[in-house]
């Protein structure tokens, strides 16, 4: 099966060849490297930019204005914070111009902890992103969703932020992308650049097909009766694993993968909470003014009288960064044991 990084690459290739992508660009995105996570190896429209995030976002906006379809990358979301004004401009141009212009661009950026990345390769960005208007914000938790969400992002005429969980970049999917060769060694030989000199290398693209994950649709990863767990990205994978473990102890959790963080699938979450009466939102962004708190508010508004216990958020500790030593990361970013503890505690709470 394709890894998440390979899925992104396949989606970009499909975008270039079928959906009008004109430019895939960012720091180290073009040859020879093809992206720090190899996501843009071998693409015909990939190019390297100056080391200037503001220039990257500004150029993407210009390309979009002039009829192109840019997919720009910020190398790590940790380096996006000097561009928030520009993200706002991308998101408000349609409204401020009274519909005259719109902004068909995709911004990709790797997010989250889990790779011993220290303070500046561990940031989460969904909380601030969801506070910016006009953007659709997605985060896949597996390769096939990455492919399908990225195609939807490319096809959308509005700005879309595609956040890829760093910690899952090398994780293999468990479902084939339509058109993906069944043998993963074959895929590797076809599309992974060789080690060493790549100047004459050309990828041999498999005939991947159109496959979209629609925006705003959560996926029920596991059905359950006792509590609802809402997550996305790397934490979703952890939550699903923990839920499986806890099932053995008789705690039957329903796990939803939000996939689209904004606009999110309120209907699916409300329906699940109405059934279970208990909600735990798990993400790894820091906990003060966290997107999960928005989910909690909407659930409290809509399902207050169905709640059997206070809805909970398990998120990153409010510290200035994820420290490099494992002791820091372990104690500031949700881990399987803290997720399990939160699920147990919530299941045990009586109304």
């Amino acid at each position: 099966m394709a890894t998440l990084a390979q899925a992104i690459r396949l989606a970009l290739h499909y975008g270039e060849t079928h959906l009008g992508v004109t430019d895939v660009f960012g720091q180290d995105v073009g040859p020879p490297l093809g992206g720090v996570f190899t996501c843009s190896q071998g693409l015909k429209t990939a190019w390297n930019t100056p080391l200037d995030e503001r220039g990257i976002v500004g150029t993407a906006l210009g390309i979009a204005y002039a009829g192109g379809k840019p997919v720009a990358e910020i190398q790590f979301c940790d380096y996006i914070y000097n561009c928030i004004d520009l993200l706002k401009l991308c998101g408000n141009a349609h409204w401020s111009s009274a519909g005259e212009y719109h902004v068909p661009l995709v911004l990709m950026t790797p997010v989250g902890a889990g790779i011993h990345g220290s303070m500046y390769h561990s940031h989460s960005f969904e909380s601030i992103a969801s506070h910016i208007q006009g953007w659709t914000i997605v985060m896949p938790s597996n390769a096939k969703d990455a492919y399908g969400l990225l195609l939807s992002a490319i096809a959308d005429p509005n700005p879309v932020l595609f956040m890829a969980p760093k910690g899952l970049m090398r994780a293999k999917g468990d479902e084939l992308i339509p058109g993906e060769p069944a043998d993963e060694r074959q895929l590797h030989q076809m599309i992974d650049a060789p080690v060493g000199d790549r100047s004459h290398w050309q990828p041999d693209w498999p005939p991947v097909e159109d496959y979209r994950v629609p925006f705003g649709q959560a996926r029920t990863v596991r059905a359950g009766r006792d509590l609802t767990v809402v997550s996305y990205g790397r934490q979703l994978v952890q939550c699903a694993a923990v839920a499986l473990d806890l099932a053995a102890d008789g705690i039957d959790a329903e796990v939803l993968d939000l996939r689209t963080i904004y606009p999110w699938d309120e209907a699916a979450v409300f329906a699940s909470v109405r059934k279970t009466g208990r909600l735990l939102v798990v993400n790894e962004d820091t906990e003060i003014t966290n997107f999960g708190e928005h989910v909690l508010r909407r659930v409290t508004d809509a399902c207050f009288y169905d709640l059997l216990a206070p809805p909970q958020l398990l998120a990153g500790l409010d510290v200035p960064g994820v420290g490099l030593a494992w002791g820091y990361e372990k104690h500031s970013v949700p881990q399987p044991d803290t997720i399990a503890a939160a699920m147990r505690a919530l299941a045990a709470l009586r109304a």
Partner: protein, 355 residues
């Protein structure tokens, strides 16, 4: 092609007044020759812009708008620029990344003054922002005028993007970006120069810096060490020059030459236009008339001296625009204002992809 305008020599402190060099021959577009008729037309457009701005200020004073900011003092180079734009939609044509003192540019391109009055009054008929943005914040897609950003200097970051599409498209379309002198202190000004000079990917960007000596209350020369901002382009080996932006003829020639270079060499050019800020920064500082050279008055004297117009003819131009503006105001004040039903319009675009 031989460039006709020399790279600015940093030790040469004189203001550049280039002599006219015929524009490039291009199958699709050529700058009009600056004959007598065009000199008169330039005046007409300058008055169109000035009269409109003065109406906007009156509207602000009489409660027909909350806030005014605009371009009195920038009509001379603005009208010339508006006429020289290769106007149309898509990368075959020029893109305009304008700042909030560019009324003369869009009015010379053919915009209707009434639309500026609409934006001033924030009516629902305001075509640029539906009453959402301050006046002089344009967005005109058929002419590639991209939305004017309220954040200073961010427009410079976008120009390389449109210019990249133009470079690929071929032809003579270029990306024109304007901004103020104080605003050039943002790193974005330099980013634009850097992105426009990537080796092998040089971009057709014409960067204008309107040097009026101020940013709000702050004398630009007290916070930036340069009498001549265009020289900042020296560090990027970008051709640059400056011109008396109060002189429409000099501006015309300088623009023709700079554009000629940008269009055909497909490389950037930085042009500083020295101009006045005739009514101060905005209505926040009173929008009172300042004692600075007035490009319209100076030009009217010159037209009369050169025998190209009489005082009576000039007055007729003013009367024409003023009466058109009074009529326009009557229309605008009767137009509806946005209400609750408009708030959530245009958050998302739901039409076809592509731009």
């Amino acid at each position: 092609m031989q460039p006709t305008l020399p790279v600015h020599n940093r030790s040469d402190d004189t203001v550049l007044t280039p002599t006219f060099v015929p524009g490039p021959s291009d199958a699709r577009w050529m700058p009009p020759a600056l004959d007598a008729a065009l000199q008169v037309r330039l005046h007409d457009l300058m008055v169109k812009a000035r009269a409109t701005e003065e109406m906007l200020i009156r509207m602000m004073r009489t409660g027909h708008g909350y806030f005014w900011i605009g371009g009195p003092g920038e009509e001379a180079y603005g009208a010339a620029l508006g006429l020289l734009v290769h106007k149309g939609h898509g990368p075959a044509y020029d893109y305009l990344h304008l700042h909030y003192r560019s009324s003369a540019v869009v009015l010379a391109m053919g915009s209707e003054p009434i639309d500026l009055l609409r934006q001033m009054r924030s009516t629902v008929t305001d075509p640029y922002s539906k009453g959402r943005n301050f006046v002089n914040h344009f967005a005109i897609k058929p002419w590639n005028v991209v939305p004017v950003t309220p954040t200073i200097e961010t427009q410079y970051l976008m120009a390389p993007g449109t210019a990249l599409m133009q470079r690929r498209h071929g032809g003579i379309g270029c990306s024109i970006v304007t901004g103020g002198d104080a605003g050039s202190a943002e790193g974005d000004f330099y980013s634009a120069m850097n992105w426009s000079t990537r080796p092998g990917s040089e971009l057709p960007v014409l960067m204008l810096v309107a040097q009026n000596g101020y940013g709000i209350s702050t004398e630009a020369s007290t916070v930036q060490n340069t009498p001549h901002l265009h020289q900042r382009a020296d560090g990027f080996r970008i051709r640059n020059a400056r011109v008396d932006g109060n002189d429409p003829i000099a501006s015309w020639h300088a623009l023709v030459e700079a554009m000629d270079y940008v269009r055909h060499e497909r490389k950037p050019f930085v042009l500083q236009v020295n101009c006045s800020r005739l009514y101060g920064h905005s209505s926040s500082s009173g929008a009172n008339r300042h004692d600075e050279p007035d490009c319209v008055q100076l030009y009217e004297k010159r037209l009369v001296d050169d025998g190209l117009a009489t005082q009576t003819e000039l007055k007729l131009v003013w009367d024409k625009w003023n009466s058109l503006l009074s009529d326009a105001l009557k229309v605008v004040v009767a137009e509806p204002m946005p209400g609750k039903e408009h708030v959530l319009q245009h958050v998302w675009y739901r039409g076809p992809a592509g731009n």
